[in-house]
Amino acid sequence: MLKVENTVTPVSFLPELLKQFDEIVRRYPKGKQKSALLPILHLVQAEYGWVSSPAMDKVAEYLQIQPIEVYEVATFYTMYFMRPQGKYVLEVCRTGPCCLVGAEKIMDHIEQKLGVKEGEVTADGLFSWRGVECLAACGFGPVLQIGPEYTFYENLTSESVDQLIDDLKKKANN
């Protein structure tokens, strides 16, 4: 079930981020700036790691739409996190074709390796993981992706997952 975390920490977008918003809005006809909502929410998530309600309010203000128009969209699409996540969110494809080639074992392995259940964050704040639906890479399964760049890791094995997690740990500690 979807849980939304309410926070009162105020948000103010940096000028560089607002400049990116402006560029996106220019793609649409005049008065159709609401079309920029999905791309802007991706930028917000890339900046903060998740999409908080104050951030959504700010987006509404920027796009001159009602806050509810942002909430209903942010909660509809699965890519937007409504709660803080680990620095790295490992999203493993859990749909049929990937399961034919071992995706379930990979998820079990990740759960064991990280020591947290699906959706939880590791104590060091570095990792969380979840199963996601088909990522359109069925010939190269099992696969996982890591935002905000959505880098893809294909043909996963327990060993390659271990290596990936160790590399990310090193990267975070440097």
């Binding site: 909502l37 796009l63 034919l100 996601v132």
Partner: protein
């Protein structure tokens, strides 16, 4: 060796850059179209080609284009559907990753044919790497004068934008995609009006799949009639098939429509057979939504004719003994796979992806998921199979968009063809959680009585 129209140059180093793509003859169709053809003549070529929508529905692309309303003073839009999310399908990702300029080229010619001056490529949000690739390709094309104001001095203006989705399978449905592009939830619209009359921002709009738009390039270069010579019957041209599951060589293959299923599956030029020397149990030929077939019915039709990779041959026998070409998402199951588990997995997918607008789909998909879950985990009842068929029938045809049908068909077809495997999960419940049913008789030569 079949002809390659889309992937001919896929292995040329640097083909993802404008320079190399142009050297291989890229963007010739833009020059030809903008300088020598009228928009109507382009639509006519696409009609002659017999090209059918490559996203799954198979509706003739030229006909779809000819429905576009052209009221005076109203903008028209072309939107490319790159929300590839159908389980088993990964051809569009492949095309956009390796040969992005083919899509850009097709978008320019198609936009010109439709009279659009701003066109959008709606890419599923998870494909951020592909979005970056496309944005770079667009910038290169613009730099070379193929996009922007007064393209090639012809007076035609076109801006091309990439729009990310947010992770929702339903946005592959064209009206949900348009809602999403307008910054709303991906709830499909009631048709009519069709997008050709009232689409993006209420303006006349055409929505086409990535592969359909890419196919416009060879159609314009070689002519619609030449394109139509490839293939068989009303299945003209080439098709990208993304093959996954338990295959020796999974990947994306361009085939001439009409290739035999057996050759596609077993020849080394394509899938190379089943991985690890195992035997084929079942096939989903066109993405998870199309009916699953046991090995014997996939390779031969009920009349014992070899089955072909074409729209008509795959649907030979209707849903009783046939399936659909769909999006070309080909999934092979080896003898060790459990059909019940896979059917539950697909049911979970459709439940997760149902937008919730129509109650038969919103409630029915969850119900089917629950029943299949208990069957898979040894708590099923003998009456569950009839219940599942009943629920699937009550979803099918009773929803605004085809997601309901797409959720119903895999469940109904799995029970139709693999009923004894489902029953075994009830009669041998404790055994079924520790081992799989196996190949059983699913690859045996067909007798007519057996299959019906």
């Amino acid at each position: 060796m079949g002809r390659k129209l889309l992937l001919e140059h896929i292995n040329v180093p640097g083909i993802n850059t404008f320079e190399v793509y142009r050297k291989q003859g890229g963007y010739a169709s833009v020059e030809k179209a903008l300088k020598t053809l009228t928009p109507d003549a382009i639509v006519e070529e696409v009609k002659k080609s017999g090209l059918r929508g490559r996203g799954g529905a198979g509706f003739p692309t030229g006909m779809k284009w000819s429905f576009l309303a052209k009221p005076e003073g109203v903008a028209r839009y072309l939107v490319c559907n790159a929300d590839e999310s159908e389980p088993g399908t990964f051809k569009d990702r492949y095309l956009m990753t390796h040969i992005p300029h083919l899509l850009i080229e097709g978008m320019i010619v198609s936009s010109f044919a439709l009279g659009a001056h701003a066109s959008y490529i709606y890419v599923r949000g998870e494909m951020m790497p592909q979005i970056r690739i496309l944005e770079r390709a667009i910038a290169e094309a613009k730099n070379a004068g193929f996009l922007g104001k007064n393209i090639l001095g012809t007076g035609y203006d076109l801006e091309l934008y990439v729009q990310p989705g947010g992770g929702a399978y339903i946005c592959g449905e064209e009206t949900a995609l348009l809602e999403s592009l307008e910054g709303k939830r991906g709830n499909p619209r009631i048709k009519p009006p069709f997008p050709a009359i009232a689409g993006l921002y209420g303006c006349p709009t055409v929505v086409n799949n990535v592969e359909s738009i890419a196919a416009v390039v060879p159609i314009i270069n070689e002519g619609g009639e030449e394109y139509a010579k490839i293939g068989v019957g009303r299945s003209t041209g080439t098709k990208l098939i993304s093959a996954g599951g338990n295959l020796k060589n999974p990947g994306v293959y361009e085939i001439e429509l009409g290739l035999s299923c057996e050759e596609f599956l077993y020849s080394d030029e394509y899938c190379g057979g089943i991985a690890n020397g195992k035997r084929l149990k079942a096939v989903v030929a066109g993405g998870s939504s199309v009916p699953i077939l046991p090995a014997n019915l996939f390779l031969k039709t009920i009349n014992n004719e070899p089955r072909l990779m074409s729209y008509e041959s795959l649907s030979d026998g209707g849903f009783a003994t046939g399936t659909m070409l769909g999006s070309g998402g080909f999934i092979a199951f080896d003898e060790d796979q459990c059909i019940v588990r896979n059917t539950w997995n697909f049911a979970r997918f459709y439940h997760h992806e149902s937008c919730g607008q129509c109650s038969p789909c919103r409630e029915g998909t969850g119900w089917m998921e629950k029943v299949l879950h208990r069957l898979e985990n040894g708590h099923g009842k003998m009456s569950d199979m009839d219940l599942l068929v009943d629920v699937s029938k009550k979803i099918e045809g009773n929803t605004i968009c085809p997601l309901g049908d797409a959720a119903a068909w895999p469940v109904a077809s799995a029970i139709r063809h693999f009923r004894d495997e489902f029953e075994w999960h009830v009669t041998n419940a404790s055994e079924a959680v520790t081992r799989n049913f196996g190949l059983a008789h699913y690859a045996d030569p067909l007798t007519k009585a057996e299959a019906v």
